[in-house]
Symmetry: C2
Subunit: 369 residues, 2 copies
């Protein structure tokens, strides 16, 4: 009987729709139970069609990582959007245009940004203070309340700016391993946010909401603390990094890159696939000294099987991937066969691949098509 | 006076056309002088318009990294194309279609691939033996002539397969530093290829051409050895990795990603830019313990100045870049300003950005648009 794999000639991003819908339902149910707003980050799937899968779960508010992504989803009817990236002053005019159409949330972390935004924005916007709870990517330091208070005061002083609350990304959970460590780090992160929240409210700057969330904690923690909303994104598909964290099992991984085998090197325990940095990205996870650009599965029926023990993508160049396989698996794989790679980082693979083929053969486009 | 930078609102790939044309002319002149065929790899620029810049230099033969890229360039009149990637059996029918239109070169490295290709291909093709001269990505081992001879014999036995020669990628030069080391490694690579070449010709499998080439050697070596053609690609733009190798100076770097500054963290010596993994890719070079995702320049007139000493992109996530700057530079840079990042790896940045803006304001598209 012909399968989806028969028509694949080149690297193709397969999407297991049922797995993705289960992943969405699981987090949605958890947030309903906890009474927390679920504002999923759409930067992972980047697809209007997949966005629709969230509506039956009651999702009405979303997160994007750029203005372009916000415009794309606004065009398919999303009207409560937070751009979870420090507001870009050079796009102030376009931000204002979008704020005229939808409820738009912006992140600020300096008085200067608030002031300069206020020179251009005329439509009302929600203002979130971006807080750095310890990962030091960006944001106002959680333990420097004077600076945060100054930005909050500045925002409160601008007509049309609704000071909404404090927002952070619990980036520290991505390097944790297992539920205990993930939830401990998440709680530490949230505790820091709550401390700043308490100080600012005491200074009369409240009421302030709290927005947090990340895939590991959203997946693993039964208690997400006294927060108003969470914004995980990657959970919709997961990937090899999240399998390594323990956020999911391999059956929850909803995308795999099907790649033709183009060469065999049994003397090195390797095959070469058509599938490289322009498909998977150059992101990797580390296992000891190893860089792992993805776990490796074999096609199985209309999907893929469990990751092969000892199998991984060990190197990628522009179009090539080098795959290490155990000897027994190497014997099963020939030139012209397909391997299904669970990407190290699904968000970047989706950006590069631009579209999906579902396991029942439908093409789904992203904003990058 | 308004400059190109005034209209930039978001990450934008700037192209210095004059630098790119100088880079093309320099390698073209060298190959003319040496009497070597120049078959540039078009995987770096991926643009029909930029491809035209090679024609005045006498270029008539090109290299691509995929069938899709070959089809794209065939559509703009290139009719001598080598796909420098192990022939993908799953695309045999489409390869045959292209071979009916252009002189097509394919890479093989197993008897099985030759046999299975011969079942589908009816149009004539050039067959190159892909040789592994020591980098162990893929190819027939240079020091195992029996295996190479078997593939050569198989190819000679197929009507329409023209056994053209031996092809390698001198990947070892990319980790060299400076001309001496680059040229020593290139010579070692070519010497291995020549040894195999000699053995195969002695066995009556000649005449065989030799195809090699890589950006460091093409840029730095005065003697490219007794080869028939070279296939460098990256030299058209160069990037931070090539600056580190010593293949070029910063003035030769022909692309830079202009990125808005969205946050300042003077206490950490950092600014955050709008410009991350979906723009630059996650490729990096290493300097000691550091990962460098790109060198950092300031806009200067209608272009960019020299890389800032001590400045580099130290981390990238999906849309964020974290830039470390010396204290004196940090004082000069404010939120809303632009930084020009010389990508770690220009080929991957081009893939992600999909189009260029030249310094005189023209948009140039790639095959990914």
């Amino acid at each position: 009987m012909p399968t989806i794999f028969d028509r694949i000639e080149k690297p193709t991003l397969l999407l297991d729709e049922q797995a993705a819908r289960r992943n969405i339902a699981r987090v949605a149910e958890k947030t309903r139970r906890m009474g927390i707003r679920f504002r999923p980050h759409f930067k992972t799937h980047q697809s209007a069609a997949i966005g629709e899968w969230f509506r039956p779960e009651g999702v009405t508010a979303i997160t994007t990582s750029s203005l372009d992504m916000a415009l794309y989803f606004a065009a398919s009817g999303w009207n409560d959007i937070t751009i979870a990236f420090p507001a870009n002053l050079r796009q102030a005019r376009a931000l204002n245009g979008l704020a005229e159409q939808v409820r738009l949330g912006l992140l600020v972390e300096s008085v200067e940004t608030v002031q300069r935004l206020s020179n251009t924005l005329t439509a009302p916007v929600d203002i979130w203070l971006k807080v750095d709870a310890g990962t030091h990517r960006t944001g106002l330091a959680w333990d420097a309340p004077d600076a945060a208070a100054a930005v909050a005061e500045a925002a409160r002083g601008v007509t049309g700016f609704r000071l909404r609350g404090l927002l952070t990304h619990a980036g520290s959970t991505y390097t944790a391993r297992g539920a205990d460590e993930v939830c401990r780090r998440y709680a530490e992160n949230t505790g820091r946010l709550l401390e700043l929240h308490h100080t600012l409210e005491q200074r009369g700057l409240g009421p302030l909401e709290i927005s947090t969330g990340d895939t590991p904690a959203a997946s693993l923690c039964d208690d997400l603390g006294p927060v108003n909303e969470i914004r995980p994104g990657n959970f919709v598909f997961y990937d090899s990094q999240q399998i390594q964290v323990g956020s999911c099992g391999w059956r929850d991984a909803a995308v795999a890159l099907a790649c033709p085998v183009v060469a065999k090197h049994p003397e090195r325990g390797e095959v070469v696939i058509y599938g490289g940095a322009v498909h998977l990205s150059k992101d990797f996870l580390t296992e000891g000294e190893r860089r792992v650009y993805g776990y490796v599965c074999l096609p199985e029926g209309e999907g893929w099987g469990s990751p092969l023990a000892g199998g991984y993508v060990s190197a990628v160049s522009q179009e090539h991937g080098v795959v290490r396989l155990a000897e027994s698996d190497l014997r099963r794989v020939g030139v012209g066969d397909l391997l299904c790679i669970l990407p190290a980082h699904s968000c970047l693979t989706v950006t590069l691949m631009k579209q999906y083929i579902t396991l029942d053969g439908n093409t789904i486009e992203t904003m990058n098509c």
